[in-house]
Structure formats: C-alpha cells, structure tokens
C-alpha cells in the first residue's frame, strides 16, 4: 500500500513537472519549434526569460502577461521580418549603459499593446524598416531613450505614451518615419531628430520636457498639429528647436507656456505657418537664421514675442502679434506699422548669459528703447495682422472667490481708515 502510494506520488509529480517547466522555462523553445506564421498565445503570468525571435510569428499575451529580465540581453530581440508582439508587459531591470527592453532589426514587424518598463532604453530599432509600434506605453528612469532609431526608415509610431526617459523618440540617420499621436512627458527631449530626413511629426503632445522637439541637421521634416506645452522648467527649455535644418514645415502647432516657443539657429528655408504661440516667456528666438518663411502665426500672451540676431533676411509676413501697435488705414486687415523683434537682449545675453536676470526689467526696456538698432538689421514683420488667425480660447475662472477678495479688501481697508481717522 505504502509503496503504491509512493509510486502514485511519483507519477503525479512526473506529470506535473514538465508542465511547470514548460510554462516557465521554454518559451524560447516554443518559439524555436513554431512554424512560420504561427501564433503563440502566452498564458497569464510572469516569465523570467529573454527571447530571440527570428522568424515571422505572432506572440500574443492573453490577460496579464509579464516578460521580465535583468540580464544584459534585451528581453525581446527581433530580427528577420513580420514578427508581431501583442498585449505583453515587458520589464527590463538591467542597468548597463546600453541595455534595452526590446531590440528590433529587420523589417515589417508589428508591436502593439505593449507596456514597457525599463531602466535604460525602451525599444531600439537598428537598421529596422517598416516597423509599426502602436498603442503602447514606455516608462523609463531618465537613463536612456524611449524609442531609439539608428538607420531605420519608414517606421510608424502611433498612440504611444512615453514618460520619464532621456529622449522620447530619438532618430539618428533615419528617414521617412511617421510619428503620430504620441504623448511624451517629463523627459529630456520629446522627439529628437539627428541627421534624419523626411520624417513626419503629427498630432503629438510633448509636455513638461526640457525641450519639446529638437530638429538637428535634418531636412524636409513636417511638424504639424502638435502641441508643445509647459516645456519651461529647465533653464534651457524650449518648445521646438530647429538647428541647422532645412525645408522644415512647421504648421498648425500650438506652443503654450514654454520658456521659449520656437528657437531657430542657423537654419534656412523653413516654413513656420499658422501656429499658435501663446503664453511663452519668449515666443520665438532667431539666431543667425535667414531665408525662412514665418506667416499667419498668432503670437499672444508671450512675455516677449520675438528676439532675433543676425536674422534680418527672413520672410515675416502677416502674423498676429498682440504686443504690436496696430493701425489699419486702408482696411485690408493688415497694420501699416511694421513690427520688429528687438535684438538687444539676445545680443547682450549671448555674450554674458548672467544678464538674463534683467529679463523684462524696467530699466532694460528703457535701455532697449534708447539703443535702437538700424532697421535693416532687424527681423521685421512688414504687415502684421489686425486680427488673430485662429480662435484663442480664454480661460474662465469662477468669479465668486474674486468677489470675496475684492470685498474683503475694500472692507478691511475701509475699517482701518475709519479707525485711523478717529481721535482717541
């Protein structure tokens, strides 16, 4: 009887053992065994494993699936073509400099519904083309980029939420990518393009980063309908920086509450059209940039609308500047008084950045007015618009508390006044 029991026990054990190890240890072997085009469904649970996928298969999570690894290899490495990764949580806790949660090379992969947590990089694309990454979330620790592209073309990034990384989406020598409807926050640079051409940035939101978007030595970029909000905490913060880039189209974006809305340095032949530039400390800054086209933008509520040095030869026409004095004599909707960006403050602080403390100091405004620069060296809007080019919604606040403040002020001062007049 006892022996029988013992045998039974062993049998049961032997039945369970392989099942357990199959779920825990051999995800990779499942992938190795799978046919091309097969779909592997992962059951709910945690898998402490690194995967390498080299053939066109689909890996799909059912319920809460977590892939986790602290090794120096990526949690998932993809190559070849048409690999699909779906509904999976990926956590990478390795802390080596080049560590990444997902490494992608090859073409036409699809990554969807992922939630990535990483100490360093989120997803690295190395010579990867036609990859789609969408509906996913990446959270980092400000030690690596969320998505990092190296020589990767024609990829699509859509509906991603990226938080707390170095650069949200970083492109180097990568062309023709589409970045659409992503939300990047609390990172160093939202989108960062280096030597990358013909990329499209559309309807993204980049907020509370050091810089919303950096375009560096990139050509023919389209930046349209994005929102650059509250990039104002760092002393180097700005909404959009265009450096040595050409043929950029910046259309229909909103730049709100940034330290500097748009900063353009040594960039030529770009078009900045129909943007809303509101409540920034400085609206636009031009430095040694010429041959650009700035039109139909609405500048409103900026502490200082525009500053420019060595940038007299731009086409600045028909923008709305709320700080400009406007007179329309002939009724064409354009003011007859030209509006110029004053170069003095930028020139002064370029030489000695410490003088930035005088930003909008009353004495400096006086000095600025005395030291008028020759008109032909200024960035000048020859025909400022009388009316805004777009609706600017007004904040509405509840006036009840304000009435209370008003009444308290009046009553308290009045009673003190009565008390003061009284002879004792």
């Amino acid at each position: 009887m006892k022996i029988l029991n013992y045998i039974m026990f062993l049998l049961v054990l032997s039945l369970f053992m392989p099942a357990v190890s199959e779920a825990e240890g051999t995800l990779q072997s499942k992938i190795d065994e799978a046919q091309k085009g097969a779909t592997i469904e992962l059951n709910e649970g945690e898998y402490e494993e690194t995967l390498v996928i080299t053939k066109p298969i689909t890996l799909k999570g059912k319920g809460e699936v977590l892939l986790r690894s602290c090794q120096s290899d990526p949690v998932v490495t993809m190559s070849g073509e048409s690999v699909t990764l779906k509904n999976i949580k990926v956590e990478h806790c390795g802390d080596e400099k080049e560590d990444t949660a997902i490494y992608v090379t090859g073409s036409n992969h699809k990554l969807e519904g992922l939630a990535i947590e990483t100490t360093r990089f989120g997803i690295r694309l190395d010579n990867a083309n036609g990859v789609t990454i969408q509906d996913s979330e990446i959270v980092g620790r400000k030690q690596g980029n969320g998505i990092d592209l190296w020589k990767s073309n024609q990829n699509t990034f859509e509906n991603l939420k990226i938080t707390n990384v170095t650069d949200g989406i970083y492109l180097e020598q990568s062309n023709g990518n589409v970045i659409h409807r992503n939300d990047i926050q609390i990172s160093r640079y939202g989108m960062h393009l280096m030597f990358s051409n013909e990329n499209v940035l559309d309807e993204n939101a980049s907020r509370a980063n050091i810089t919303g978007t950096m375009l560096m030595e990139s050509k023919r970029t389209v930046v349209s309908n994005n929102k650059f909000l509250s990039n104002n905490k760092s002393v180097n913060a700005q909404g959009l920086l265009i450096y040595l880039s050409t043929d950029t189209e910046v259309i229909g974006n909103e730049f709100i509450s940034n330290r500097v809305g748009i900063f353009i340095e040594e960039a030529e032949n770009n078009r900045i059209d129909s943007n809303k530039i509101k409540d920034n400390f400085i609206g636009v800054q031009f430095k040694k940039s010429n041959g650009n086209n700035i039109m139909r933008n609405t500048f409103v509520g900026n502490v200082n609308d525009a500053q420019a040095i060595e940038s007299a030869n731009n086409q600045v026409n028909g923008n709305y500047w709320d700080a400009a004095s406007k007179v329309d004599v002939n009724g064409d909707g354009k003011s007859e008084i030209v509006y110029s960006a004053d170069p003095y403050f930028l020139t002064l602080t370029n030489a000695v950045p410490e003088y930035q403390l005088f930003f909008q100091a009353p004495g400096l405004i006086l000095l600025q007015n005395i030291l008028k620069s020759p008109a032909d060296q200024l960035l000048t809007d020859s025909a400022p618009l009388m009316n805004m080019t777009m609706e600017v919604e007004k904040e509405k606040s509840t006036s009840f508390s304000l009435w209370v403040i008003s009444v308290v002020m009046i009553l308290s001062s009045f009673s003190l006044f009565i008390f003061g007049r009284k002879r004792r």
Partner: protein, 172 residues
C-alpha cells in the same frame, strides 16, 4: 574731496586686484549635466568622454558635447581670445589640453554630433584602440586643425565600412 579721491583709488585698486586674479592658469570647469548645453549645437552636455571645453582669456568657460563642435566654434569665432582648450581621455575622462592629446578618427565610433573623433591622453592607448578598431586614423592636435570635420550623415558616405558592431555608444 579727499574722501572721494580715496574712494576712487580704493575702487580702482580693487578692480586691478580682481583683474589680476583672472591670470591664473586656466582650469577646466566640471560639467553640470542639468544645465550645461553645447555652445554650438544647443544639446545638453553629458559628463562623458566626448565633452570638451574652451576657457576664454576673460575667464568665461564654454562646453561642447563633441570635439567637432568645439572646432566649429573656433572657426566661427576667430576674434575671440582663447586661453585654453580641453578634451577628455576616452577611458578615464580626465581633462587635458588639446595639444597634449592623441586623437583617433574612426567612422564607426559614435560621438554625440557624429564627428567621429575621440581623444586619448597617451599615444599608446590611442594606438591600441586604433589597432582594435578597423578604419581608424591616428591624429595629433595639428592634424585636427586641418581635419575637415565632416559629419557622417551624408548619403554619399553610405557605403562606408559600418563597424557593424551593435554596441555603438549612444550618448547624446
């Protein structure tokens, strides 16, 4: 009247002393990652081996994220009086004068602004690195002055030997 003259002399003396203080040998300033940006390209400067620095004669220090950016700045600002230029050792990040360093130019080495030049404090380690990495050119500070500082983004350049190692160091 005497009082005023005295005040003036004291003030003038003070300014002279202050001016004299600036004549010490220029020392490199530590990189502040939170706020330092490259004078040329505006990118944040990471406290790594690619960072470089110029100290002007008036004591102003400027940092660059890539030695190429520094040379770019020097060519664009020929009238500025430069006191010292510093680069860092590729391995231990020690600051040294531009003239004391040995450089390696290798297109497969990634630097922040893709100028692909790195610096070493002694020639032996530079040669060692060059031997390990194909396509390296060893340069001195003099060679750098004549270097054409081409960034590697050109399409025409596309067929270059791409090192093909996956450990390119992204450090922007």
């Amino acid at each position: 009247m005497k009082k005023k003259l005295f005040c003036f002399i004291v003030l003038a003396g003070l300014i002279m002393i202050l001016a004299a203080c600036g004549n010490d040998k220029a020392q490199p300033v530590a990189i502040n990652e939170a706020t330092d940006t490259c004078e040329t390209c505006n990118m944040a400067v990471i406290d790594n081996q690619y960072a470089t620095q110029i100290i002007l004669e008036n004591g102003k220090s400027m940092v660059f994220d890539d030695v190429g950016c520094m040379y770019e700045w020097v060519t664009k600002h020929e009238n500025e009086k430069i006191d010292a230029e510093f680069v860092r050792d590729y391995h231990d990040k020690e600051w040294m004068l531009v003239d004391d360093a040995t450089y390696v130019y290798n297109q497969s080495v990634k630097t922040p602004m893709a100028y692909n030049v790195i610096s070493f404090k002694d020639k032996a380690t530079a040669e060692e690195f060059a031997a390990e990495n194909e396509g390296s050119t060893i340069m001195t500070a003099n060679d750098l002055a004549g270097h054409d500082w081409k960034q590697k983004q050109d399409k025409a350049n596309h067929s270059h030997s791409d090192g093909a190692k996956d450990d390119h160091s992204h450090s922007h």
